[in-house]
């Protein structure tokens, strides 16, 4: 995490990407308020997903390159725990800033006022699941020289449930319905990913490093 702070550019890149794509939507579709209000919840979610995806490639890359990943594998600490700390750091560095940026983007896309709170809650939990699931993909492709695109291909189908429930929580809230159900399901996904993903990542890293 400290390392991430040293490279401020890398920290900011997903956020700038997030912001730029949001600017593209009115430019590409329509700057009218009626259109953007309808699109806003889903669009913000899709872009947040893409921004997370872009940042995943760096998750294990530098550790793999300088050999500290091998040190992690050899260390007496259980590997899933070590991996989990990496993932939590990734989430704090991408998910949380993305979430904090959303009110600004919501305003730019005329998100109705009742949508902000569910959007932030759903992104808070959802980006956690996305970091966890995505780290499996990152671990599988870290041994590849050009893993970035493959990583996206592999991970994107797995993001479908998170996207559906995250975006629908916001949509329901905007239409004035209760959204706690969707948030609860997002939470369930997050918890199960939290339990299962570190083991899958640990297994994948062992393979990627050993061969």
């Amino acid at each position: 995490m400290i390392v991430a702070f040293r490279h401020k550019g890398e920290l900011a890149n997903p956020l700038i990407f997030f912001l730029m794509v949001v600017v593209f939507i009115p430019l590409g579709i329509s700057p009218e308020k009626a259109v953007l209000t309808v699109l806003a919840p889903g669009m913000i979610w899709v872009i947040a997903l893409l921004a997370t995806l872009l940042s995943l490639d760096g998750l294990f890359r530098s550790d793999f390159d300088d050999g500290s990943l091998e040190q992690m594998l050899l260390s007496p600490q259980p590997l899933p725990w070590l991996v989990l700390t990496k993932i939590v750091a990734h989430w704090l560095m991408t998910g949380i800033p993305l979430m904090l940026l959303t009110p600004l983007l919501g305003t730019m896309l005329y998100l109705p006022a009742e949508g902000y709170l569910p959007l932030m809650i759903s992104l808070l939990i959802g980006t956690g699941s996305m970091s966890l699931i995505g780290s499996i993909g990152a671990a599988l492709t870290v041994g590849l020289r050009k893993g970035g695109l493959i990583l996206s291909l592999v991970v994107m189908p797995l993001y479908v449930p998170v996207l559906i429930f995250g975006a629908s929580a916001v949509n329901e809230a905007v239409q004035g319905f209760a959204y706690t159900g969707q948030i609860a399901i997002l939470g369930a996904m997050f918890v199960s990913a939290l339990v299962l993903a570190p083991f899958a990542v640990a297994g994948a890293l062992r393979i990627s490093v050993n061969t």
Binding site: G137, L140, T141, I150, V160, P161, I164, A200, I207
Partner: protein
């Protein structure tokens, strides 16, 4: 212990290759026979549907392809798991070969669905739950294939694909359910094992036959592909050389 011997023998590509020489032919002919009977029966002799007319007949390709495409993913993921647990070379080969066949069947199901959708729903593509989850299944297959292609090292490719397909297998029910919850237009499954089917028996029999036929076809394709893969990977061994020399 003796009852487990067959399982250990499965680990030997040579034994598998020799045994399946006969099976492949039998299964291949059986698949061909069932497919031709099923197609002629379904397309030619089954009664016409009341509302949809003849266009419903595409069900005889659509449903079997979709069913086997989903089963194919489990074949792939389970053989990947067997490979990871018992470290069998052979099951990795099965996994690798199942992916493109499954992807092709998923594509077939999507394509026939699109052709069928035009006269029935008025559009080639509808954003409906089952169609979308089929499409995601297609992407999962493509992801496994892309990962397999990306690695130069065969062992790494096998193991990473096995993990990926297992992760995908855990996710399939979640994806399926969440997409289902999201939007549904597609009719529920027509054939049910436990309840009474919502399809007339004269239409159902050829459909069931076709499903089995496509399973057979899948098995035949898989065996054939695995046999080729075995020869390809074991090309340096003496027994493969003997076979190739003997064939000439």
């Amino acid at each position: 212990m003796a009852s487990w011997q067959w399982f250990h023998r499965l680990g030997s590509p040579k034994w598998f290759y020799e045994k399946t020489t006969r099976w492949t032919q039998v299964i291949g002919w059986l698949a061909l026979a069932m497919l031709s009977v099923g197609i002629v029966w379904g397309l030619g002799f089954a009664p016409e549907e009341l509302k949809q007319g003849n266009s419903y007949r595409i069900i005889y390709i659509h449903v079997p392809a979709a069913a086997v495409a989903m089963a194919g993913y489990y074949v792939m993921a389970l053989s990947g798991a067997i490979g990871l647990i018992w470290r069998m070379k052979l099951s990795y080969m099965v996994m690798k070969c199942a992916a493109p066949i499954g992807a092709a069947l998923t594509f077939a199901a999507l394509f026939t669905g699109a052709v069928w959708g035009k006269p029935t729903w008025g559009d080639y593509w509808v954003w409906d739950a089952r169609i979308t989850s089929m499409l995601i299944l297609f992407f999962l297959y493509l992801g496994v294939m892309a990962l397999q292609e990306a690695y130069q090292n065969q062992e790494a490719a096998d193991k990473t694909c096995a993990i990926l397909s297992l992760v995908g297998m855990v996710n399939i029910p979640i994806i399926y359910k969440s997409v289902d919850w999201w939007f549904t237009l597609h009719q529920p499954a027509t054939l049910k094992l436990t309840e009474k089917s919502s399809i007339a028996p004269e239409m159902a029999y050829p459909l069931i036959l076709m499903i089995f036929a496509v399973y057979m076809f899948f098995a035949w394709l898989l065996l054939t592909k695995v046999r080729v893969e075995i020869l390809h990977r074991e090309v340096k061994t003496q027994w493969v050389k003997d076979i190739v020399m003997g064939a000439k």
